[in-house]
């Protein structure tokens, strides 16, 4: 039986539309220094022996985007590896690296500056194959529009319910000090915002965001050296769907259901509807919050619209942080969700703290119309 892995520290920069005053190395340094301050960890042989970075060559416009990060990640004459995928996958890999017995103390630092590109849609446009789908002009936002249509057909969700999700997210976001640019939105403002990929309105989409996030993962036998309040990674799971959207039923949540099934099995969770005190899902677009909740098996299939109407998100403690909708970079969405969930479990969430939170779920998504999902189940130590 492999040993347990604990999250011993969590650090984030603020998330803003344009952190023009900081290069990405500086954002990462802020995260590293906070983790060092919280735990006293260093890069000696008994400290961090492996760093996992999260970044993206296209967003950074740098070949080998982690090459620029070597010094910040303490990787000079040390080990560093880059997750070039949804950020929550760094937890997945960090867990494996420690459970394999190869590492004891692993640093995770992810960064992304969406503001650097002229348009993030230009970046995600490049995820489409150059022969069939790229010439059509697809990007992740347009793909999400198609999925939102399919989901609206299935669940009956409409403009008003979607606006309700956005308004609640904005109300939560103003309590989150990591989101200094958040402001409360009204139903009227949301419903009057321009349509960008019908039925997705401008305010249904997460804002362009810059920021960095990090964690310290430690093997259970050494956790005490770094914290008294670890958060255990109980289970992880992910799944890839097919690529062409015409090959998929866009409202079926195929990959998410399978990812959840795997993660729940590893975490020993039988009844997901009642298992979680905190749920952080990557809702890049408003429709995704209820849809992903169905895929996670926390609410029944096709019941997302009713769940929104009955104030479900508040009752289930979904995205108390404001969620991805309130601002976190595409690439880091799931890792920020995991960070927020872990902060809650550690009892360090300040004004947004949920009392007695013991078990949490964090979710990340990547690719057109949710092609890839990854999940982590966390538990208070």
């Amino acid at each position: 039986m492999a040993r347990k892995v604990g999250i011993c520290a969590i650090a984030q920069t603020t998330y803003e539309k344009n952190k023009w005053g900081a290069r990405f190395q500086e954002m990462a340094l802020e995260v590293l220094e906070s983790i060092q301050q919280q735990t006293g960890v260093d890069f000696s042989e008994t400290g961090i022996t492996m760093s996992i970075s999260v970044s993206d060559d296209v967003f950074d416009a740098r070949t080998i985007s982690d090459n620029a990060m070597t010094d910040v990640l303490g990787a000079h004459l040390g080990c560093e590896e880059k997750i070039a995928q949804e950020g929550i996958q760094a937890l997945y890999y960090g867990l494996a690296a420690i459970q394999s017995g190869h590492e004891d103390v692993v640093l995770i630092v992810g960064h992304c500056k969406e503001s650097q590109g002229k348009s993030r849609n230009m970046v995600t446009h490049l995820a489409f194959d150059p022969f069939f789908t790229r010439p059509v002009g697809l990007d992740f936002c347009a793909a999400a529009g198609l999925q939102a249509q399919a989901y609206a057909m299935k669940s009956g969700i409409g403009d008003e319910e979607l606006a309700r999700i956005v308004v609640r997210s904005s109300e939560n976001a103003v309590k989150n000090p990591m989101l200094p640019e958040a402001k409360k939105l009204t139903m009227k403002e949301v419903m009057a915002s321009p349509m960008i990929a019908d039925p997705i309105r401008a305010l249904h989409a997460y804002p362009v965001s810059d920021g960095a996030v990090g964690m310290l993962l430690v093997a259970e036998d050494r956790v005490k050296e770094f914290t008294d309040t670890p958060v255990w990674i109980k289970g992880v799971g992910n799944c890839m769907d097919s690529f062409f959207m015409g090959d998929r039923n866009l409202a079926s949540n195929f990959a998410l259901k399978k990812a959840a099934q795997i993660a729940y099995k590893r975490a020993g969770i039988d009844n997901p509807g009642k298992a979680f005190d905190i749920i952080e899902v990557s809702d890049q677009y408003a429709y995704q919050q209820p849809m992903w909740m169905e895929g996670l098996g926390i609410i029944d299939d096709g019941k997302g619209n009713e769940w929104i109407k009955k104030d479900g998100p508040q009752k289930n403690n979904v995205n108390i942080s404001g969620g991805t909708l309130a601002g976190s970079p595409l690439l880091l969405g799931g890792l920020v969700r995991a960070a927020e969930a872990a902060i809650q479990l550690k009892g360090e969430a300040g004004d947004r703290q949920v009392a007695n939170a013991k078990t949490a779920l964090a979710h990340g998504v990547m690719g057109p119309a949710g092609q890839f999902h990854s999940i982590a189940v966390l538990e208070r130590g």
């Binding site: 070949t63 982690d66 070597t70 004459l77 880059k82 995820a127 194959d129 769907d241 690529f243 990547m366």
Partner: protein, 393 residues
Amino acid sequence: MKKNRNVGVIGVGQSKYSSHREEVNQPEMIHEAVVAALNHSGITLDDVDCIVHGNMELFEMVHQPDLWHTLGTGSYGKETLRVTTGGTTGATLVAVADQLVASGLHDVVMAIGFEKLQEGHTTGGITNMADPLWARQLQTGALTGMTAADVIEEFGEQRAKMASMKYRIIMDKHAMKNDKAHRRLGLEFDQAEDLAKNSPALVGELRMIHMCSQSDGACVMIFASEEKAKQFCKQPAWIKDHVTVHREESFCIFGEPDYVTSHRYAAEKLFGRNGITDPLNQIDMFEMYDPSSWWGLDWIREFLMLEGDSHIKMIENGDICIDGKFPINPSGGVTASNPIGATAMVRVAEAALQIMGDAGEHQIPKPVNQAMASGFGGTMWTVLFLLTKDVPW
């Protein structure tokens, strides 16, 4: 360093390497290697739990390419992980797969490295690695003549040039035995003088003939837990240990008096924790990521922790030949084939094939019980592997 459980390589698949694979798109090219690896291991896609994928995305300008490549990788409905570290990517993928299996998360993992350099601008892509403010003016893609100048200064022009060219010709002779290799030139040792003088110069004494190719291709490896490996495979190649060492990017701007290469640093660590005191006798073969024959020559000294000119003598005496005392790159190495995101994995894969006894025409004609393989990338980054024929623990 004892792992949670043993991990064995049970299958290797490679596409044909070439400068232009115009008849296939990226997923199709990958699929070629996936099918080859499944056939080699005798398992089916249903037996694979997780697929690990990597390359360098700015070469082809596809964002998160694992999404599209699902069509060729077979990752539909499976768990996946995408990890990239530049030139070392392929070796990093092996380290990742090893840890995914050793951790107990998965029993069977397939790792996929690929590149289709024809679809982008390789030197432009590599130059884009350097810091836009401080270093981009200095970066010349992967071309560096510095090592050639250093070796010439240390050993004299004639000896250095002849050793480097002999290294290159040995590699070509090895590539001639490997039907996957991209460049198979049919060079003979009596061409050395002529090539050293007349091959087009790139930077100083780094000439076209010394430099690695730009290739299209994919490499796939399948890893399994001890139990599954023994079930599926007669002779798995066991991953005993690996060490990853990076260097800070501007290491040479301000000079550094006591310069330890990441290669020697990694070797010291790997040998130290695996009881290797005499690498030349304890290790039976070495697959080295040799981006040019100048680097290949110079790095033998670093990886084997040699001093003086013993590495030059190894080349002059033909020790590194496939039938020599210490064979290096019986596959032909990187000067023969270089699909970058796959290249470092090909090194580990070729070392594994030697242990499994499945290298075909380029199988070393002596027993291979312990093999070493290296990946290279970034700003002198190293991933170094030790593979064994016997189960490590």
